[in-house]
Each structure stands twice: as C-alpha cells, then as structure tokens.
Amino acid sequence: MAIFKKKPDLDKKDALLCIPEKNSLVEETYLDSGDLILSYPALYKPFFMNIQKIIRRNPQATFLRKIQLDRLGIDVWLLLDGKKNVKTLIKEFAVLHTLNYKEAEISVTLFLRSLGEKGVIGIKEP
C-alpha cells in the first residue's frame, strides 16, 4: 500500500482554469528600448553556496537574477493580475495581437511555464 500518494496530474481543461500570480519579490525596470527587466532573488545552489563559504566571510543565500522580456512577453506580464485564469489570459492575448486561439495558447502556456520554472510566478489552482 502506497503511503505517499502522488498528486494526480492536472488535465488540460483544469490547467487552463489555474490562475497565475506574480511573485511579490519581482522588481520591474523598463529599458529605453521598451523591453522590461524582471529582477528577482534566487537561491544559490548548494555547490556554489559551499564555494561561497570558503571564499567569502559573509556568504549570501540569494543573488539577484534578471530576465528580459520583449513586447510580447510584456503584454502577457501586464495581463497577470492574480485573478484571470490561463484561459482568459490566452483569449485576451489572442485578441490583443489578432492571433488564432491555438497559436496564442501554445505561446502563452510555454511562456507561463518558463516563468513558473524560474519562480517569477506561482500558479493557484481554482
């Protein structure tokens, strides 16, 4: 008998109803080119933490990581308000750029996944 049951994977229908939320520690800086820099604290990996302990007196647990968003990325970022679900974001992004729903769906979900992996956003289940 399994003691630790694995949480069942979300199917696509449920995943589209999830609500992405921005990490409150993210800082935004606009460049002259119109691009947006997102800065957020990230944890050092244990290997680099150990090296820090050897070479520094006051080793720090985090460092500032930055990612640069182009205009399409900024449009998705600005749509994130912590209330809209993924499906609504896709629809609004598709309307904003006159895109087909399927094309917008692939672009937005891939982008949100990459932001989620970096810890820039979190995903709330409905």
């Binding site: 696509k12 229908k13 399409l72 750029h97 006159t98 087909n100």
Partner: protein, 296 residues
C-alpha cells in the same frame, strides 16, 4: 465569413477534405491524412482518411480498414443501421455507420467511401448523440467533403486560408507559434506558403524587406513592389544556383530553378504572408497572381 446563428460557422479544410464545425472547436493535432478536432483539450471529432489502392473490392477494403483502425486506436467498432432521415448532398458517398467503444469512452462514427475520388474516410465523434438530423454530428457530417468541388484545393487551418491548384499535393508542413509553412508540389514545381505573426511585433524594428531577407537569406536582387489583394507587396524573381559558385559553369544553369517570392503585410489580420514558387521551367508568376496574396 462567419454566418450569424449558424451552429457550424467555422470551416476546417486540410489536404482535400473540408468540414464545418462550431466556432469554439480547434484543431488539436493534424497529419497528412488525419485531423483531431477538440474543444478545451477534450476531443470532439477525429477524421482519418486513406486513398484506395488501384485494385480493390470495397468489402475487403472496408474490413481491412476497420481492422487496422481498431488496432491503432484500441477501440471496438460495432455496425449501426443508417439513420432513416439522413441524406447527404454529395451523391457519390456511401455511408457505413458504427458505434465505437474504448476503455475510457464511447461514441458514434461513420465510414465514408467516395466513388469519385476512391477515398475512404473514418469520422469518429466523441459523443453518444446519434447521427440523426438535426443533431450536431449529423450537421457536421452533412458539411463534409473529401475532394475539392472545383479545380482549386481549399486550405483553411489556424486562420490560414488559401487555395492551390488541385493537381498540387501536400509535401511538408510546419505549424509553430509565429510561423506557419506549407509546401505543396506538382511534378517538379513547389509552392511554399508562409504566414508569420504577429506582424505588428515582427515589424517593430525592421522593414518588410529586411524581414524577408532575414527569414529567407537566399533571396537575391532587388524586389519589385506592387499592390495585391492584402496590401502592398514585395516580389523577388531569381534563379538560385544549385551549389556555391555554380553560376561560373554555364552548362549548369539549365539545372537551376526559377524562383518567385512575394511577401505582403496583411495589416487587417496582423500577419506577414509569403508565397514562393520554385519551378524548373519558368518563373511561375501566374501561380503567385492566383495565390492568397494575388493581384487585385
């Protein structure tokens, strides 16, 4: 054009077949002889077709097709009688209705054999509703065609809509967000359809000419300009060499292709559309003129 109050306002046309579906249905996956259409990740209808061999009897051909489909899709197929009130505008179709069951779901479907183009098509609905008019499956079925009614093959997928001469067959395709490419071929003439988007983003820091040169570095010479049905276009005509420095060997020039490429920014659709024709015989300007970015 979308029709008001039409339950099936959207047309999907791919590699010779065409059908109408509800507005919210989208293509989930496609192949040269397969389409899976769904809504919010749930499959709604699946279409699989095959061209008949040169010599066959319909009975054995049907049996083999059903057997292969059952194995490939891991479903069980049970024959159903033809609904009494069902009739289709295409008189060359023969229908074989069935129900199907798999471990997780059930539904109804139909096998269609066209005596004109000898194509056999299986349409599988992921719902138990009967294929009786005016049910949704029956309406979809009545809109289905498996060969173009004219000398042009109509294509309509993911907001990309165009026609090609009927003799052209699908060679390759690629649908990536921001870039669709479809290649069709007739004898040694290859027509390539491009659609890039969103144009307002792609053309923010570059001109249409620079964009074309970035995407297709093989373009040579100066572009002609003009106005087509979708707006202003740029057009290149050149004869690419088969390999580097091939042009210094005059006898090789007869093996080089005649290439015409037209690109246009469709501001209404926010797309950049391109059509390229490679032909061994001549510059195929007529194909370009009759394309989705053809002349006014």
């Amino acid at each position: 054009m979308l029709k008001e109050n039409d339950p099936l306002p959207k047309t999907i046309a791919w590699n010779g077949i065409a059908l109408n579906v509800p507005l919210t249905w989208e293509i989930d996956s496609l192949d040269t002889t397969h389409l899976l259409i769904g809504e919010d990740g749930s499959p709604k209808v699946e279409i699989k077709w095959t061209d008949s061999p040169s010599r066959f009897t319909l009975e054995t051909y049907l049996k083999r097709f059903i057997s292969q489909s059952q194995k490939r899709l891991t479903i069980k197929i049970h024959e159903l009688p033809t609904p009494r009130s069902f009739s289709h505008p295409e008189k060359n179709f023969e229908f074989f209705f069935f129900s199907w069951t798999s471990t997780s779901s059930t539904g109804n479907g139909v096998l269609i054999f066209c005596s004109l183009c000898k194509r056999l098509t299986m349409i599988r609905f992921f719902s138990d509703s009967r294929i009786d008019p005016p049910s949704l499956p029956a309406l979809i079925l009545m809109s289905f065609t498996d060969h173009p009614p004219s000398d042009q093959t109509h294509w309509q997928v993911f907001d990309l809509k165009f026609s090609t001469p009927r003799s052209f067959e699908l060679l390759e395709y690629s649908f990536k967000p921001g870039c669709y490419i479809i290649n069709v071929k007739h004898k040694k003439t290859i027509q390539t359809i491009f659609s890039w988007g969103p144009a307002s983003f792609l053309l923010t820091r570059t001109s249409l000419s620079e964009f074309a040169s970035q995407r297709l570095p093989q373009l040579k010479g100066l572009a002609n300009t003009g106005v087509c049905i979708r707006g202003n276009y740029l057009e290149w005509s050149y004869r690419p060499a088969r390999f580097k420095n091939a042009q210094i060997l005059p006898f090789l020039s007869r093996y080089s292709l005649f290439t015409v490429f037209r690109i246009c920014h469709d501001q209404k659709k926010n797309r950049i559309l391109g059509v390229m024709v490679d032909s061994p015989l001549r510059f195929e300007h007529d194909l370009i003129k009759g394309s989705m970015i053809g002349d006014l």
